[in-house]
């Protein structure tokens, strides 16, 4: 006697699970341009590498000993390789109970997350669920109500341990939305992905507002206004491409260092354009993204959060193959000034770099915090000091290149001033507590008002201070360590990156403790 009948039963039950919510629901799902969950996983990971766990989980009904019906768990997960590295991947099956977490059976998603933590592997969440146990159907199933008890400790702790990536691939509410937000990188699919604390029916009932799901929580809200999602994707394939790209810069966990990637560019490349990229007219902005391409490895830049907090540019990139985290200011957005959204984005990105031991390169062109009534209402200084705290709590190697402006408190926050950092400046460097244009008026108001010709006197004072504005005077006092030919920036940063990775070899690894932030 063998166990062949039972072995056959395994296969039969797998086939039942692969039917998901049934042909009709699968077809409806696919007609919206969405892949089914197993097709999504196949499209994301290396071909044939997905080893599913928990495929037999589901709700069965029996007639005597005979299996009469089977509704599979609507959470599918397992181990796979992605670009040759091990990852844990899990996602919701929308065709069963709308992906609601109470259809997952037996805490499968929690199992996947614990597996990622214990195995110290990246966690990829393909979220497509309409809610948590929040469905009132649960009450009917168990005959009682219950105190909500989503386990959240693990979700929080794992962010200090392994990369967590989330994609919002359908209408995602409640616990699903929380799982998207609680990630190192999230992507929302334009048109088909929506994220909200509660969807349109609950919104209508709760606050009496009729709203379409796309206008309530689509990409234009969460990738462009709220910053809940870092990036938007054109379609599912684009989302998978972005997930693979983001992961390529990160180590498997925080106990390991990032690995050197492809070396695809000459380390000593000196682009001529860098000599003229900063306009001599102080009021003319430069193209910050083009500037970055001249410095970092060709084709290595991956931008995170492009459309949120736009005054701050955050990118992952490589120098001579080594992953680095890149901060820059965009003078074409709010003049490059640090506003509340930019500060929120900056703090998260610096934390990401510090958590995964990525050296930081900061291309500084900071005119100061955003000013005005709207900026005050947005809490600019509160979010600003949080970003400053993140910079000062970071312990990874840090390089600052002051390419243009560094003004005020926000300008001072370009690095931890109490640590040694590698810092260079371009000849276009321009710095101070207050810019001369407004600063003269503030400091000499009485003298200017008392002058016979106030405008002429102000102009005279400004001319006097402008004459002292040369960065060479600052360098004489060693208040800036070095002024360099902008064309040398890449070779200098490549050399620094090699040093930084040597330092990281002796860096304390694993989860980091950071004290309370203001």
């Amino acid at each position: 006697m063998t166990w062949q009948p039972e072995v056959d039963e395994i296969e039969r039950r797998k086939q039942l699970a692969y039917q998901l919510g049934g042909q009709e629901r699968v077809e409806r799902h696919q007609s919206q341009g969405k892949l089914t969950i197993r097709d999504r996983i196949e499209a994301l990971v290396d071909a044939g590498s997905f080893r599913e766990r928990g495929v037999l989980a589901g709700r069965a009904e029996y007639e005597g000993d005979e299996l009469k019906s089977f509704i599979p768990s609507n959470y599918v997960m397992g181990l796979a390789t992605l670009d040759g590295r091990r990852v844990v991947v899990g996602g919701d099956d929308f065709t069963v109970r709308g992906g609601a977490a109470d259809g997952a059976v037996g805490g499968k998603s929690g199992h996947a997350e614990r597996m990622a933590r214990e195995m110290r592997l990246p966690m990829v969440r393909l979220v497509d669920g309409t809610g948590g146990g929040g469905s009132v159907r649960t009450i009917d199933n168990i005959g009682r109500t219950y105190v909500p008890g989503s386990s959240w400790e693990g979700i929080t702790s794992m962010m200090a341990e392994v990369p967590v990536i989330a994609a919002a691939m359908g209408s995602v509410a409640g616990i699903g939305a929380a799982r998207v937000a609680a990630s190192h990188f999230s992507v929302i699919i334009r048109g088909t992905g929506q994220v909200f604390t509660a969807g349109p029916p609950v919104v209508e009932r709760g606050i009496g507002v009729k709203v379409e799901k796309e206008e309530l929580g689509g990409a234009q809200i969460h990738a462009r206004k709220s910053g809940v999602c870092d990036n938007e994707a054109e379609d599912e394939a684009d989302a998978f491409r972005q997930i693979r790209a983001f992961l390529s810069y990160l180590p498997d966990n925080t106990w390991r260092l990032p690995e050197r990637g492809p070396v695809q560019d000459a380390p000593d490349r000196r682009d001529e354009e860098l000599l003229s990229v900063i306009p001599r007219d102080r009021r003319r902005p430069h193209n910050a993204r083009r500037l970055l391409e001249h410095i970092f490895d060709r084709g290595s830049l991956f931008e995170v959060g492009r459309y949120f907090g736009r005054a701050v540019i955050t990118m992952l990139g490589r120098l001579d193959g080594y992953p680095v985290a890149i901060l820059a200011n965009d003078p074409m957005a709010v003049g490059g000034s640090l506003d509340a959204d930019g500060s929120i984005k900056m703090a998260k990105f610096v934390d990401l770099a510090d958590t995964f031991n990525l050296p930081v390169v900061n291309l500084v062109d900071q005119p100061g915090f955003m000013i005005g009534i709207a900026a005050e209402e947005a809490g600019t200084i509160k979010w600003g000091v949080r970003a400053m705290a993140a910079v000062n709590q970071a312990t990874v190697p840090w390089a600052s290149v002051i390419i243009r402006r560094a003004y005020g408190v926000a300008g001072a926050a370009h690095q931890n001033q109490d640590r040694w950092n590698y810092r260079i400046a371009w000849p276009s460097g321009d710095w101070g507590s207050l810019p001369i244009e407004g600063g003269v008026q503030a400091a000499y108001r009485r003298d200017i008002e008392a002058a016979e010709d106030p405008d002429a006197y102000r102009a005279e004072l400004e001319a006097k201070f402008n004459a002292m504005r040369s960065p060479f005077r600052t360098a004489e006092a060693f208040n800036i360590e070095e002024i360099v030919d902008p064309r040398d920036t890449r070779p200098l940063l490549v050399a620094w990156t090699h040093d930084a990775y040597r330092v990281l070899e002796t860096h304390p690894l694993g989860p980091k403790y950071r004290g309370m932030r203001p």
Binding site: R283, P331, G335
Partner: protein, 70 residues
């Protein structure tokens, strides 16, 4: 389609006139904000139907700058 100010500033230059056809990413206006002359780019191709601001005018975040049509 409405083009609105993404941050407060002063209209430093208006680069288009009513009736002009523009492509996506064309420079429509220049907004001086935080002492920086920042271009306002066209979000899409179209024709300029209405210009709601004048040179030298202060605009707040969200203010209507111009309207594009087909």
């Amino acid at each position: 389609m409405e083009v609105r100010a993404e941050w407060p500033g002063v209209i430093a230059e208006i680069r288009v006139s009513v009736g002009d056809r523009v492509s996506a990413e064309d420079e429509l206006l220049v907004l001086e904000s935080m002492k920086m002359l920042t271009p306002v780019l066209s979000p899409a191709a179209g024709a300029v139907q209405h210009i709601a601001v004048e040179q030298g005018q202060f605009v707040d975040e969200g203010a209507l700058l111009l309207r594009l049509g087909d």
